[in-house]
Subunit: 468 residues, 2 copies
C-alpha cells in the first residue's frame, strides 16, 4: 500500500499526500459515528481535479489498494471508515464552483463544496439548492448518501437534484452520466445509480445540480400535543390533506426541555411547552401561506393541540425555526460528560408513523438515558439520538438493542432501516434483512461488474459475494 | 425458438400462448412508431403473475430466446419491436390492482394496469398518480420508458413515483427493489436503474407507486404570442419566477389551426387565435391560484401577449385544457391521407429552449409538410410531429434530417435526444452521440452482468459490446 501511496505522491506532488498520524486518525474515525473501526488508511491524498482522481484510481488499481472517499466526515454509519485500510481520498481541495448558470437554474460544482457556502454564494440570483442535511455536509457526501433533511417533504432527496455526475471508475476511467437536460429518458439512469452508492461504484468528481427558486415568502408555525402519538397522528392528517408544506418536523418533550434550558439566546426568549411539538414551515406566495396556515389550524384541532403559534414577524419566524435547527447540536453540546451519541433513523409507510414513534419513544425512555426523538415526519422518517457511556458495555448493548428493535419494527411495517444516513458499515446486516439476499446479490453483481477487484470503499453497504 | 414457445405453452396453458399471425403482426409494429423492423416474434405469451413471467424467463434463458415485453404498444421509438425475433411477453392479463393503501398514499399494481383506469378507480380517495402520458399507456411501459407528460413540471417523471418494483431477471430470478418507505437511502437505487431501462435489464411484474393528493382546486389560462420565440421566452420567465404551475404547455400556430378546424365540439365553441399559444394549468388552494394567475399575467406582459384568457368556470377550464389534450390525436385524425407520423422529442437546458424551438419550427416549415411543434415547455422539453408519405423516400429522408438536426442541436446545447420517449431502436446512434462510448460501455457492462446472454429486449437502447 505504501508503494502505491508513494507513486501517487510522485504523480500529484508532496502537498497532495500525507502520512501524518493525526490526520489519518481524523480521517479514520468520528465522534458522530457508531461504526468506527480500529483499522486506519495508510495515507490521505488530496486531489485537485478529475485527472488527479483518475491517477489515484489507476494507481490503486495497479497495487490493489482500497480507496475510501472522504468529504466532510459528518456521516454517522462509518461510511468513510477504512476497515480494509487503503488510501483515503479527501476532496477538501476540490471545492470549486465550476459553472453557475442562473438562466438554466443549475450549477456545476466539485464534490468538496459545502452546501451552505454554495447557497450563500448564489443567494442573490434568487435560486437555491433545497436540500438541508447537516450544515457541515459537502456535495460529494450528500451524493454518496442520498442525503435529505428538513426540506425533503417538499423538495425530495439528493437524487432529485442531481442532473449529472462525472465519475472516476475503479480502473481510472472517467465517465459522465448525462448532459444537462432538466428531464430525460435517454438510456439507463446511471446518475441515480451512483447517488446513494456511498462511493462503492466510483468516485464522483463533478456534480451538476438543479436549483429551485427561493420561495417568495416563508413562515413558521409550531403546535404542541399531549402525547407523541397525537403529534404524529396530527402530522399524518396534515400530509394526507395535500397542503404543500415546505417542512413538517417533530421534536419530543425532552428536546423541547433541552431547548428551554440550553437553546441559543434567540430561542430562549420564549418559554417553550415541554411537550411533543410539530414545527411547520410554509412557503410560497404570501396569500397562499395565509390560506395554508388556516387549513392546518383547522386540521390539527381534532388531535388536542395545546397551542398553535404562528410567527408574526420575520424575526419570530427565524427564532421559531432555530429551535428545530439547533436541536441536535444543543443536545450534543449539553450531553452528560463522557457520553457518545448513537444517532440513527428509519422511515416507514405513512400510516405506521405514529405507532413506531410512540413505541420507540417508550423504549428510549426505559433506557434511563439522555435520549430523544426528532422527526422529519413529513416523510414518515424520524431519528433517535441516544447518549451512552462508551466504556459501559451493558449500556452500549442496551442502546444497540433499542436501535435494532426499531429497525426490525420499521421492516415489519414495510419501511427502511435508513431514511437518510445510508448504510455504511453500521447497517449492513439490517440491509440484508430489509431487502433479502437475492436483491443484495444483484447489487453485488452490479458492483463486481464495474469494480471487479472490490477496491471502491470496500466493506460498505454490503460485503463480498457469498462463496457459492 | 418454437421449442421454447411450446415449452412455455405446456407450462402456462393453451390460453397463454398464441402463434396467430395477426396477433404477432400487431405486436411487431405500430403506426405510431418510426422504427418498425421487418422481423417478428415467433409467439406472443400472456403471463398472469410473477411466477408465469419467471417461467417464461427461465425457458427463454434455457433456449437462448430473446424476450420482448409489450404493454399498450403506444411507444414510438420501436421500443417493443423484435429485431432479433424471440418471444413477445404481453402483460394484458396482468392488470390487477394488488393493494391500494390510501392511508399510506400508495398503490401496488401489475404492469398491465392503464393509468387512466387506475386514477378513475381511486378517485374517490382524493388521491391520484400525477403522470400524464398517452391515455392508452400502461404502468409497465411507463416504467420502462420513464414517461412523463404535461404534469412533469410540477410532479416530475415516472422515476419520482415508483416506490418499489418486483422484477424478473433474465435467468428467472425474482427480486424486489425496496419495501415501501416514502424515503430511503438504503443501498443502491435499483428502482431507478430499472425505470427507463426499457425492459433490457429485467421484466417488471409488480409496481408500487406513490400517490399525490388531488389539488383542492385547479384552473387554466391561455395566452398567445406573435412568435414562437416570444412564447418560449415568456415560458422561460414564468419558470424562472418560481410560480408553481401544475403544467406549462405550448402549441404552435398550426396546432391552433387544427384545433379551430377539427377540434371537438367543446373546443370549437371558441375561436382560437392561430398563433403560438401557452397553456397554463394552475393548481393548489383557490386563494393561491388567484394570486399565481395575477403574477403570471404581469410576467408575460413583457413578451407581447395577444390575449390572456383565464377560465371563469369549471366547464371553461375543461374546454380550454381539452384543446391541449386532444391536439396530437386531432392532428393524427386529420392528417393527409396515406401519411404516417414521425413523432419525436428532445429536451434542453432552460435558457436554450426558445432558440431551439424557433429554429426547429423554421426547419419544419421549410419541409412543406403537415408538421407542428407542441411542447412541455415547463420542462424545456418539446415534441415535433411531422406527417410524411412513407412511400416517398425523399420525403422520409427530409423528415429524418429535420429530426436528426434537431437532436444534434439539442446535444450542442447540452440537452438530450429523448425527453420522454426513451431510446428504443430509433435513437440508439444518437444516444452514443449524447453520452459517448465510455458511458454507453458502462451501461453495457451493467447489462452484461445481469443478462449475460443478452436476451432481455435485445437491440434496444444500445447494441452488443464492441469487440475489443
Amino acid at each position: 500500500m505504501l508503494q502505491g501511496a508513494n507513486e501517487i505522491l510522485a504523480a500529484l506532488g508532496d502537498d497532495a499526500v500525507t502520512f501524518d498520524e493525526d490526520v489519518i486518525e481524523h480521517h479514520g474515525r468520528s465522534d458522530w459515528s457508531t461504526s468506527n473501526t480500529t483499522v486506519r488508511p495508510v495515507a490521505v491524498v488530496y486531489p485537485r481535479d478529475t485527472e488527479d482522481v483518475a491517477t489515484i484510481a489507476k494507481t490503486c488499481s495497479k497495487f490493489n489498494i482500497p480507496i475510501v472517499p472522504f468529504g466532510a466526515g459528518s456521516s454517522v454509519e462509518g461510511n468513510f471508515s477504512s476497515p480494509h485500510s487503503g488510501i483515503c481520498v479527501d476532496f477538501t481541495h476540490m471545492d470549486a464552483v465550476i459553472a453557475f448558470r442562473p438562466e438554466d437554474m443549475d450549477v456545476t460544482v466539485q464534490p468538496g463544496v459545502n452546501w451552505v457556502d454554495l447557497n450563500n454564494k448564489i443567494a442573490e440570483s434568487g435560486l437555491f439548492l433545497p436540500l438541508d442535511p447537516s450544515p457541515t455536509a459537502q456535495i460529494g457526501g450528500m451524493v454518496a448518501t442520498n442525503c435529505s433533511g428538513t426540506n425533503a417533504m417538499r423538495y425530495g432527496t439528493m437524487k432529485d437534484w442531481v442532473v449529472n455526475l462525472t465519475v472516476v471508475l475503479a480502473d481510472g476511467q472517467v465517465i459522465k452520466t448525462r448532459r444537462r437536460p432538466r428531464k430525460t429518458s435517454a438510456g439507463y439512469n446511471l446518475t441515480s445509480l451512483f447517488v446513494g452508492a456511498e462511493g462503492t461504484l466510483g468516485m464522483v468528481t463533478e456534480v451538476t445540480l438543479k436549483l429551485a427558486p427561493i420561495p417568495q415568502d416563508t413562515s413558521v408555525a409550531i403546535v404542541s400535543f399531549p402525547s407523541i402519538k397525537e403529534a404524529a397522528t396530527a402530522a399524518s392528517s396534515i400530509i394526507r390533506s395535500g397542503i404543500q408544506l415546505a417542512a413538517l418536523e417533530m421534536m419530543d418533550d425532552l428536546q423541547m426541555q433541552v431547548v428551554n434550558r440550553h437553546g441559543s439566546a434567540a430561542v430562549r426568549k420564549r418559554k417553550w411547552l415541554e411537550e411533543p411539538t410539530l414545527f411547520l414551515k410554509f412557503s410560497g406566495t404570501t396569500d397562499a401561506i395565509k390560506s395554508d396556515v388556516k387549513r392546518v389550524g383547522q386540521l390539527v384541532k381534532a388531535h388536542n393541540p395545546r397551542d398553535f403559534i404562528f410567527a408574526k414577524s420575520e424575526s419570530e419566524k427565524t427564532d421559531l425555526w432555530a429551535a428545530r435547527k439547533e436541536a441536535l447540536f444543543t443536545m450534543v453540546n449539553t450531553r452528560p460528560e463522557g457520553t457518545e451519541i448513537w444517532s440513527t433513523d428509519v422511515a416507514v409507510p405513512l400510516s405506521r408513523l405514529a405507532d413506531i414513534i410512540d413505541i420507540t419513544k417508550q423504549d428510549c425512555s426505559k433506557l434511563g438515558l439522555f435520549a430523544s426523538i426528532v422527526g422529519h415526519v413529513g416523510d414518515a422518517n424520524f431519528h433517535t439520538a441516544m447518549f451512552y457511556d462508551p466504556k459501559n458495555a451493558e449500556q452500549k448493548a442496551a442502546v444497540s438493542k433499542v436501535v435494532h428493535v426499531m429497525m426490525d419494527r420499521a421492516l415489519e411495517m414495510e419501511g427502511t432501516v435508513s431514511g437518510e444516513h445510508a448504510i455504511g458499515i453500521g447497517k449492513k446486516d439490517s440491509l440484508v434483512d430489509e431487502l433479502g439476499l437475492e436483491t443484495i446479490d444483484l447489487m453485488r453483481t452490479l458492483k463486481m461488474s464495474v469494480d471487479p477487484k472490490w477496491l471502491m470503499n470496500p466493506g460498505k453497504v454490503f460485503d463480498l459475494p457469498r462463496k457459492k
